[in-house]
Amino acid sequence: MKKYLPTFITGFAASVLSIVPGIKSFSCCLIVPGAVILALILDQKVNKNSERIQIGKAVMFGFMTGLFATFFITALDVLITFITKTNDFVEALPQSETLIREFKFGPMAEESLKMMKQMGKEIQRTGFSALYLFILLTSNFITNTIFGIIGGLVGMGLLNKRKAEQ
């Protein structure tokens, strides 16, 4: 576990940055890969390691940073939703309803909207929805681990290249 401490730290930092509105709209997909590169640099500095980074280590660091970022992002989102009893999903529901009525989407769309409205009502009433948590965790896990692994590969290449030039 101590081996992955840098990924824990940078994963947490990435999660905090991702909930800041201005930062997310500008840097979007670069937050988690950036965190992975930082984790690799931190690991080298802390362990005073000057060896080439292997692909296995880069991929694991990417995956672990993505995983930690997932947990923290989900936890922060759920906490903010619990306190405010609203979120982007709940606020977008009236728009979806207007869309369905205006463009006459059909009965299947109406059924889908019923399910989403139920989830939205649960969030507005209790501040929490188990289904929302599951969907959020799954979607964050898929995206953050993929982008984390990409960041790991890029970081490995950049740091190894820098070492070779030195």
């Binding site: 979007c28 728009q95 989407f105 009965p107 889908s112 979607s139 982008f147 590969l153």
Partner: protein, 152 residues
């Protein structure tokens, strides 16, 4: 000879980008009734984009999964991955990567200074340029690593 060895990597990266872009463009394939699928897929792309409806393209009255700029970035990367299958070697420096981000950065700055209003096509084009450059840069890093391993 080298091209043969790294061809599987090129195909793998292109496949991954095609799948990712299919997700982004899914409102065009899903149809109006699949609202639940639309929202579930939208959740998957939510960590990588603000998904502002006003700044996104739409199809079948449903917005794309990411904004116009992000659509441009991933679409540009996919086109670069497709052209990468050709037996032509292209490499770009870190400086060129920075220059390719300049149109995007200038566009964002102009928007924030309210010089002009958000233009989806302009955002898409600037995203395209950056996305293509990022893909080539990342591919070079992965290619160099695998070629070194093969040499050893």
């Amino acid at each position: 000879m080298q091209n043969k060895k790294i061809f599987p990597i090129k195909i793998l990266l292109l496949s991954a980008l095609i799948i990712w872009n299919i997700g982004i463009f899914s409102p065009c394939f899903l149809g109006k009734d699949n609202l639940l699928a639309h929202h579930l897929i939208k959740f998957i792309y939510s960590p990588v984009c603000h998904q502002n409806a006003e700044r996104s393209f739409a199809c079948n009255h449903l917005q794309f999964m990411v904004c116009a700029r992000c659509t441009g970035i991933y679409f540009g990367a996919m086109i670069a991955a497709l052209l990468n299958l050709l037996p032509v070697s292209i490499s770009i420096s870190k400086r060129f990567l920075f220059y390719s981000a300049l149109p995007m950065i200038i566009d964002v700055l102009m928007l924030n200074l309210e010089v002009y209003q958000y233009n989806k096509l302009l955002a898409f084009i600037t995203g395209n340029i950056f996305g293509a450059s990022v893909f080539i840069f990342i591919f070079e890093i992965i290619k160099d690593y695998f070629l070194e391993i093969i040499k050893e």
